[in-house]
Symmetry: C2
Subunit: 568 residues, 2 copies
């Protein structure tokens, strides 16, 4: 007798399980239910639909050959039945029955199953401040919301918007509102940086600067106190302790919560974030019930801790694994190293592994390098600066994380993708120094930025390179705790000497050997060049001449212009 | 007493050893000699200088901060002495002396050393046919040649050129001649494909097609018999058994030979390709003599065999390792997985590991998948098709190689770079199915092409997907050995039905379940869709209905248009 598999939830993971299972088991009875009547859509595409990159909303639930993924498509093309507008209410695990509610007519029904798959995803969190439930306070949760937002903007009803939360969705939505529609947009974030769970602060400031340069107001370390407005007029403003921001649209992007209530009511174990706990085969505590996607917790392969990682890409990979296992296979999903990327206007941002702070919280002793270098051979005309931060544990030299930002997004992401899959193997700094990626001048330098990030970190760990990051440097400089020795040419140094006077000393690196007596040997000095290598060489030269109270500004001038342009 | 280190050769590896060693050992006496008076240049940049991307030749030997890397630069900025126009003649290993010849005045001299570094690179091979030594028959070997070529073209003396050898340099030079200068260019290659050592044939045809579409004539399986011309008039034509090609410039790009004569004369061991043999610390058979770069053989980490891999990127990585070891460290260079990339007009091509043929020669039983898919989410406006070939060993499922081609070069290279560093760890197909690379719609699909290449290969290895590659399909189809079942829409199939009549059957995939009786069950059928997934589903559906004599055309129509446009 063929087995009956019921899948709860028909976005990302659910359809993947269903289609794969149908292909490898032509006889299984597969029923997929969903609360909505739109499913199998690319939810991550919503900001691009709102921003106009995707013209029609159907684009988000069509195949590459322009077939709309509706119930008819699943039936005729895939051989799968979908029951739309049906909600899972409870599970009778003993009898292996799922109780469902037909949202249309309010009728309830029991469906028996051999295997059950929970793919219920997550719901955006609505913070408990007053007004968060007003009309025109939108979350990015489904295509209905997406359409409502775009309709509202495209009909000219929005000139000012506030985005609450500077995570990935918040930033993508802010870009969508600003770039196409010219909506005056403010992002409010509780943490002291954008993308707080993804990036360390010294890379996040580059993203923050990119947002500001594209006319988005960014307010950090801010709490929202209330959203003002009423049911009829919609929202009018957002109140913070530092002022009130007028607006006629609010996007809430303050994280998501896994949809696991009916599952945990049935006694399935959930973790510290409320996500379902699953084993490597993606089975819940009940071996006949699988779960995956945004409603489960995943093992972070660097920290060893569980985490939520709501990404369509992971959901799809898990979907295939669940289908294999339902079919009697033994496929494993080990966890995640937290690989992440985002486009921020014409900039690509990517990361994998832990941030410095997360590494510290886990009990590592993180050390990092920051390198600015061209993404192609520097003589190649399209080459642009890229920034990489590489983090390792001091004692074990194990790579803990990497972050990259660059004007050519694919190129920045490429560097992270080359390192990400290695992180789970416990590779060390030396593996990055020698990492073998493709080389040709239109795509990379002979000593690529990724290798130089490893080399710089090796030098730092060996104590040869004593670094300071730009944010700390500016702090110390402003307090008068350090002077600058600028080893660039006189023309480059001139505006700084004008601005900062005798706190800014200029000796070009080529002259440093001869003019070493001019360097003040007793006081703290921060060394600056274009991107870091010459100031590092200067540091070694000074060291060799007994001048040891120096720090090398990581990423040099190239880092200052993107992280703290106001300093220039 | 400080040690004296002599470095023979001042391009790529040599300067890297010198500069790194100076930084970590301020006291070492470092002497670098070179036959030329131009050094430390980016030789891989020559095609881009000839093609105009790099305007001035100084661009190839300047730093990012526009300092020219001449002898003065090395002395003042780096603290390193270079002796230009000096050739190494012989080594007295017992007394640790290098005998050198001053090319300017013909004087000889002995230099004693504590450590010697051989960084003499390789010389382009001049095949022994008549005329290969004529003027205007150029190799791409140094900046003097590069300048002579560009001067000749830019002064209007070249309207037709022949490039002999379709390796990376040949293709890059052909592009340079055609793209900027409009020179009518023919590439002649002995093998039956372009990039014969880098790619399998079914990906190489895409590159070949790209060259033809950009007005480069490609002649494969051709031997050059002679180059006609004389000392005064230069070249006039290139003769092959299939005809004579008039031209006034010939580029010889038929591979390189390591410059190791004086080293092997001194008794240092060389391998089967004539390159010096080195251990993991990059020491030759004499522990006081190091070698690296294009004059050494490297271990291929997949095949276990030694190979030549003349790439500036590997030379640089080795340079750092040699410097560390000379300074008493213990740094290792394990070998290479043969990562490679090239830009071919607006297309990026990348590979790592072995080709199918190389895998077979090594004793593996290679199985491959070819997948065509968008490089970004298919709904994202800038998404373009990419092609990936993934090769594994049948029994062990170990990944042996990957090849990628795409319109957005960074994105194609990124997929290869994500897999390349893993190959040496012996990862298997399943690791690619689950490979965790960054996901956001502007950069990738939720189920990225790299994962789908793994999934397809898994399906093939499991016997679920019975593939045929496009080249084999066309061969069989033309011989009348197979019909086609085209499961795309009627509009897509129409031109083929017109052209190929009843050998081309069209049943859209959505109708296949109902119309299965129309499928001829007894005769061989090749299944076609846009890119492969629907024809794979059709294959399973037919299989389940007892129709088993089918093959799924890998990459579908998307592969035909790039590999065999004349078929359409």
């Amino acid at each position: 007798m063929s087995k009956r598999v019921i899948i709860v939830g028909a976005v990302a993971l659910g359809p993947k399980v269903a289609c794969r299972l149908r292909r490898i088991d032509p006889d299984a009875e597969i029923i997929m239910i969903d609360r909505d009547e739109l499913f199998s859509y690319g939810g991550c595409g919503i900001p691009y639909y709102v921003g106009g990159d995707v013209a029609e909303i159907e684009g988000l639930y069509s195949t590459t050959s322009h077939a709309v993924r509706d119930a008819d498509f699943f039936r005729t093309c895939k051989g799968i039945n979908i029951m739309p507008q049906v909600e899972a209410i409870s599970i009778n695990r003993k009898e292996k029955k799922l109780n469902i509610l037909h949202l249309g007519d309010g009728k309830k029904e029991d469906l028996s199953y051999d295997k059950l798959v929970i793919a219920t995803g997550a719901t955006p969190f609505r913070p408990p401040f007053p007004g968060s439930d007003l009309p025109d306070v939108f979350t990015i949760s489904n295509l209905h919301n997406a359409k409502a937002i775009k309709d509202k903007i495209s009909s000219g009803q929005v000139d000012k918007a506030v985005v609450i939360g500077a995570g990935a969705i918040g930033i993508e939505m802010a870009e969508a509102l600003t770039d196409l529609w010219g909506v005056e947009t403010t992002i409010i974030e509780m943490a002291d940086q954008v993308l707080p769970t993804a990036l360390g602060r010294n890379i996040a400031v580059i993203v923050e600067n990119q947002l500001r340069e594209n006319n988005i107001k960014v307010m950090l370390s801010q709490r929202v106190e209330r959203i003002n407005g009423d049911k009829n007029k919609g929202v009018q403003s957002v109140e913070t302790p530092n002022g009130t921001i007028p607006c006629n649209l609010v996007i809430l992007s303050a994280g998501v919560r896994p949809n696991t209530k009916f599952a945990s009511n049935a006694g399935l174990a959930t973790g510290m974030s409320g996500g379902l706990l699953v084993d490597r085969r993606m089975r819940t505590t009940d071996p006949d019930i699988y779960a995956g996607g945004d409603c489960v917790e995943l093992r972070n392969l660097v920290s060893g801790e569980n985490m939520m990682m709501p990404l369509g890409s992971l959901a799809n990979r898990q979907g295939r694994i669940i289908a294999n296992n339902i079919n009697g296979g033994s496929s494993h999903f080990k966890g995640t190293v937290g690989t992440f990327c985002i486009k921020v206007f014409e900039m690509g941002v990517a990361k994998a592994g832990l941030t410095g702070k997360q590494a510290q919280d886990t009990g590592f002793d993180p050390v990092y390098s920051i390198v600015a270098q061209h993404d192609r051979a520097h003589f190649y005309p399209t080459s642009r600066l890229m920034y990489i931060k590489l983090i390792a544990d001091r004692k074990s030299r194990r790579i803990l994380g990497i972050e990259a930002v660059g004007a050519q997004g694919d190129a920045a992401k490429a560097r992270v993708d080359a390192v990400a899959p290695l992180i789970e193997y416990g590779i060390e700094v030396d593996n990055i120094c020698g990492l073998e990626t493709g080389y040709a001048p239109p795509f990379a330098s002979a000593m690529d930025i990724i290798n130089n990030a490893g080399n710089a970190l090796d030098n730092i760990l060996e104590g040869r390179n004593r670094p300071i990051d730009v944010i700390d440097f500016i702090k110390e400089f402003k307090k008068g705790k350090t002077k600058v020795l600028d080893v660039r040419g006189p023309k480059e140094a001139e505006p700084f000497i004008k601005k900062y006077g005798d706190k800014w000393i200029n000796i070009p690196q080529a002259e440093l050997r001869e003019r070493i007596s001019e360097v003040p040997g007793n006081e703290p000095l921060c060394l600056l060049c274009d991107t870091g290598p010459r100031s590092y060489e200067a540091q070694l030269l000074l060291e060799n001449n007994g001048i040891t109270n120096t720090k090398n500004i990581q990423g040099g001038y190239a880092m200052i212009i993107v992280a703290a342009p106001e300093f220039i």
